[in-house]
Symmetry: C2
């Protein structure tokens, strides 16, 4: 199978490169496996509807920092992120399984805090905790969450499917989770150097909340169903809008033109980006973990969403395959780079 004899560092491939390399060796054997790796969730055929399954993990020191992430919010966030993947297939989330590894620095009370957040999220999204594995770990905390859902067979929405001239729609606002993280890391640094100082978070409640306790847009899936809109392609914003635009474009075989002045960015996000010396649009495009939905619709559906306060048309698909451009207010065009989260960077 693998005949490479030298040592290749993982950060030379990056996460997407690794996944592509490994999965090229696997072929599906069962007719029930409709779609495997390469979208927000796998699509399985066990009956009248399609079953959707997705899994994510959260490792202390990589995905979260417990010096500022309350355990309850962490449990909530892990469920929200998993549920978001099911929503991104236009699906209805129904169940989750949670694996937890805990070092002996965690007491029962700490574990209860995590599960308390998991329970709040289960109630919020109406999903059932149906399984999991629990054990100690030599160091730190890790969570692995699998989400399951279902979708009518004619309603499943993949990353592929966008066609030229389809409108590109984004829910909510973006960049907040990323700027919230910058604030939390700055306050942590201040606290480490000056333990007598209180962290200054109140002014940043919105963006800090976006980072610590994001929500999955299950509500948007319900709105789309009510308005009888079937997106032509869809993805959730976990790695950043820029990266997600590349995914939709690559899998659909289209390009995208995005208008900078249409990007929905909260004033707190804009202010903090400027304070940190960042271009707010770049922060918004590249910041991850907003868990908003990015999707394309036919132009004929525009009327159904144009007045919705939580959905913004930010651009459209083009025939220029592989070209992803940001058009500034002055009319200049810049290529949108997919940075994503590079977990393997050295």
């Amino acid at each position: 199978m693998f005949e490479n004899q030298r040592r290749t560092e993982l950060h030379d491939l990056g996460e997407f490169g690794l996944i592509e390399h490994i999965t090229s060796y696997f072929k599906n054997q069962n007719k029930e496996s409709v779609f495997g790796i390469g979208d927000d969730a796998a699509v399985l055929d066990f009956g009248e509807k399609y079953t959707l399954v997705s899994t994510d993990h959260f490792i202390e020191g990589i995905h979260f920092d417990l010096t500022f992430h309350p355990l309850r919010h962490l449990g909530y966030k892990a469920v929200a992120a998993a549920v978001s993947d099911i929503c991104a297939m236009n699906g209805n989330p129904l169940q989750i399984l949670v694996n937890i590894g805990l070092s002996n620095r965690f007491s029962l009370e700490a574990v209860e805090e995590i599960y308390s957040g998991i329970q709040i999220a289960c109630e919020k999204y109406a999903v059932d905790l149906i399984g999991g594995d629990t054990s100690s770990s030599p160091r730190g905390l890790y969570l692995s969450v699998t989400a399951i859902g279902c979708v009518d067979k004619d309603k499943v929405t993949y990353r592929k499917g966008a066609e030229a001239n389809d409108l590109l729609v984004l829910t909510g606002d973006i960049g907040g989770a990323y700027m919230g993280l910058q604030i939390l890391e700055r306050e942590k640094k201040v606290f480490m150097e000056h333990p007598e100082m209180q962290p200054d978070l109140e002014r940043h409640d919105y963006i800090v909340g976006r980072q610590l306790r994001p929500d999955a847009r299950k509500d948007v899936i319900q709105i789309l169903a009510e308005k009888e809109i079937l997106p032509t392609s869809m993805i959730d914003v976990s790695d950043g809008v820029a990266s997600e635009i590349h995914h939709l474009g690559k899998q659909s075989g289209v390009g995208f033109q995005v208008f900078e002045n249409k990007l929905p960015i909260d004033p707190q996000t804009v202010e903090r980006a400027i304070e940190f010396g960042l271009n707010p649009s770049i922060a918004a495009l590249n910041g991850g973990e907003d868990y908003e939905l990015l999707f394309t619709i036919k132009q004929g559906d525009y009327e159904k969403i144009k007045h919705h306060p939580d959905m913004t048309v930010i651009g459209h698909a083009t025939e220029l395959v592989g070209k992803y451009n940001l058009i500034t207010e002055s009319g200049n065009s810049f290529e949108i780079q997919a940075q994503g989260w590079q977990h393997f960077q050295g």
Copy 2:
């Protein structure tokens, strides 16, 4: 939800205690969730058949030791363990999802070894790799595997269902994986103290193989179907037969009587147990990770399996609820203690 203010150590509860404590706060909300936590896999209703889902994790330093566990075997074992859970519900495994966290001591070539083992297991069990999450970890390797399968609604086999006088059947032999681990740990210790010495593993190939590269008994599920045997209860042997007997008994509301001279133990297991000063029967009952199946059948089905070389009737269910006894050759009776794997022990 949780109102306990003091610090309770996890090892005071143990894994089963923790799971019971936490899950008592969760209630299922969706009709599709037929059965949640408390069996080898969850049972979901998405159509004509039931969907089965189970998840396990494998943490370096807790579940495996890379100084003697080849990465390829580790990948294989992780899949086998997950598939085994689906088999234990009388199900047909179909898909897996794999999350991997890797510290930077792992190269691409090391990751390829893991996935090579995963691929061999996928082919062996005819399951498809349909998803997963990959990232770095601050230390060590961890794997989290979710398995999915299906079963006819009238064939699903729970841990509950055994009735008094049902026969208790075990596949293959037991205790080998545990004694294999003792050998591997002894040779590791010798190697650490005398690096010039070669490990002495050849004489122990069977039991070392049972530890490093166990197999799920998908073949047994097929045999049961061919022989038209529907077990009344079933579990896989991951924590040790003694512990699994307690699970079947507790959930079915029966007792069990097990005959020591019926326990299927390989001669290598017996020899090594004696060498280590252990009672072979105790090692066989308490050693985990054999991934055999333990199930009960109606007495009327006895004729169908009595000549099968891979199935052994080791005892029967009784009306003495909660009484689990081992009957020795001399006719003495001992209580079977459920030790299980106590991952949280200090």
